[in-house]
Chain length 494, copies 2
Amino acid sequence: MAHTLQAPTGLRDFYPADLLRRRYIEKLWRDTAIRHGFEEIDGPTFEHAELYKIKSGEGILNEMFGVFSGKDESQRAALAQGEAPYALRPEFTPTLARLYAAKAATLPKPCKWFWQQNCYRAEKPQRGRLREFMQWNCDVIGTENEPEAQARADAEVIGVSIALLALAGLQPERTSPGVTARICDRSIMQMWFASRGVPEVLMPLAFELRDRALKEPTERLHEVATRAGMGWDAQMSVLRARAIVVNAGAIKSHGPAVADVMDVSGFNLLDESLLSFGIDEWCRFDTTIARGLAYYTGMVFEVIAEGERAIAGGGRYDNLIELFGGPPTPAVGFGMGDVVLSLLLADKGLMPEGKDLLEALSAPAASFRPDAFVISNGTPEADAAVRPLVAKLRRGTESAAWLAKEGRKPWEAARYGSVGEDDPAARPVHARHTYKTTKNVGKLLKEASDQHARAAVIIESGEHATVRNLETREEQKDVPLNRVPGVIAGLVAG
Amino acid sequence: MAHTLQAPTGLRDFYPADLLRRRYIEKLWRDTAIRHGFEEIDGPTFEHAELYKIKSGEGILNEMFGVFSGKDESQRAALAQGEAPYALRPEFTPTLARLYAAKAATLPKPCKWFWQQNCYRAEKPQRGRLREFMQWNCDVIGTENEPEAQARADAEVIGVSIALLALAGLQPERTSPGVTARICDRSIMQMWFASRGVPEVLMPLAFELRDRALKEPTERLHEVATRAGMGWDAQMSVLRARAIVVNAGAIKSHGPAVADVMDVSGFNLLDESLLSFGIDEWCRFDTTIARGLAYYTGMVFEVIAEGERAIAGGGRYDNLIELFGGPPTPAVGFGMGDVVLSLLLADKGLMPEGKDLLEALSAPAASFRPDAFVISNGTPEADAAVRPLVAKLRRGTESAAWLAKEGRKPWEAARYGSVGEDDPAARPVHARHTYKTTKNVGKLLKEASDQHARAAVIIESGEHATVRNLETREEQKDVPLNRVPGVIAGLVAG
């Protein structure tokens, strides 16, 4: 009886104060995703167990919870072997791939989807790891095939994870013992491994070993590699190669000096996108990052706090949708759990309590309607200004940075109104831009209306824009770009 | 493969448009619960299977999904018998009882808890019934033992379910083919059954059969009763007694004329509370309502639309907390599922779509801080005015009724500001009152501050109140009670 009256090991009870803290994390997640133009989806809590055999990899398969209907006696023989017809979802990506593949032909391109619900893993509970935990996923699926479009999608996804950190009050690592997104690329890594004699068939093992090398003694990993038939030079490239860490924004100037280790010039396109999104100070290229999951094909990243704790991780998985029966589809995304993030925020005094928590939860949520849809007038200068402006609108980073500098907590933003170093700065809003190639302003204004945007921002040059209220048709012309966030904030406040 | 790539039978995929509709239901639920002073809790998605054997009854035990860790080989023999160590929650009440019992000594009295998450039942899927569905629970646990206090808690819980219906735009049945709360009481029913010869030991079966009599042919139920040894007179009282349906508010005038059937004068106290909460037009006493679950001990009710579809059900369960290891504790609550409610709202044109849906979801959520804490100055007239005023503040029914009369949809409220027949009427707010017996206004003002209320409303007579802004200490004196909602609305809007 005493045992029955406790939650199963590794699962949590949430009394009201606990639940409010969880809801705070969920609100940060949802508001950030919505402001970045992601739409929420969901699937079943449990799936056919075979769904996870398609691509989740041994690590996850060994930690699944089986599910069966007590009524269904036909399953008994399989159950006796430990085989269940269903499994609690250990991760969401297989469900996402199933949903996308089933309707690929009719879905918008790209699909920007987010998801935040529970996952379940039968691993040994420890600090930062539970058997039931929440996860936030953001994915961009079905971008154009051009390397530039994919680099922008990679940067957009990394940017969402960073916007969350900023909204929670965390700081980039360059300014304090803060957080960094550490970025690598499996296709670049693979070229390097191949040049050192890792055969194609051993590539998945090579990535797995490089990931494990961050956490396990190298001798054991050499043994695994030797047993698998990997040569010594190849092993050295996988397990012992000198780590290169380059600040984002510095790839071009870094030059070819280290091309004998891994060709970091391959990060050029992504570097440019990180710069244009204004998130370079949060990012580093780091050749030790490989990620454990089998399905990544290109960019991979981890968000790491204080040099050790992983808050989030993700990457590009261009082959996965096809494996689930869909067309070949480029895709990139990440997952962030609630457990490590909650511990980190509490440690840093960034989890509100009492009245602060009630106020933080009552603060206005992100609008489901886009507050602003940003359009270029078609000139190259205006084209180049779209993404930086959208990123600025979505993050409202001036406000977060100002609060931190003043020693204020992030949830005090509401009390101070729109604050910042630039005048006027503004709180984060829901901002979008087109992913289409058309330069026809009329068509783009129609897209803004179809998405029910409140305002269109038409960039007329690298420095000025017209802001049109799509409800009233009123226009403000010649608004300097750095004043657009303030104008949109005023329009949202009504 | 094709089979693997579909959601398991009876479980749902939610693409963005589907998820928005689900979030609309969730928003209606959460906003209503918070405005009524309920605090959210949560527990594990799966519990020790034995937890559900304590009191859930055969109906639910037969429809459970078993859960086990694929790693744990010690379970294989039990699994071969269809026995799993864990079960997906088929309902939340056992978890709630476990949580309350574990901390009964330190929890506030009463605890007003709500919960909205998924439940799982391995039943045959059909229209309105799925294997995974959302449920909203609101419970008041640990009220005083006096019959008056319990009748008020019963009415408060019924009132929350009705406030949800009103917020969604549904109408009471007297004005259209709408919805009604149908109320009975197992203790009154039990006295009637006992007087007709149903022995104590057969009471649980009597309630079960009376519940099933609403859906199944009576002949079969007579057979069950006969096999169990129930006499003919007793069977007639359970299965064939004439139904009495009395409008709420009419119990007193209904008189003892039908005391030969079931003594409806026992509903007197509850009837008074329903009247004082202003929800009598939504309620009927109906002697056919028994509810199926084993654990109810007093008031039971079902919310029924168009005379047939059950949207919600609940009742009093005064013995349950003790069964889970806690002290004897009066408790009352209900559950409402998302599936039937969604179908009903869609059928009635009350599920917003497109831009309306995005706006409805973006409308301000209920404040986690109480907007108003209502206090009596200690006179009997003021005492009597507290609950009616709190109920009015929480429901904002004038606004909903006005919109319906004008042929407007409920989500248009934001567009019309505060509207209503009374001037000024107001939108629903988060309102509370004390559950303590003290009449000391100073102590009650301290309770308001401790709960972080924005304003205190001190009722000075049956007709006037002082509204004190607890942030600025500003006071408005001699506010007529019917203008208090408008004053609070102004204060909330800032």
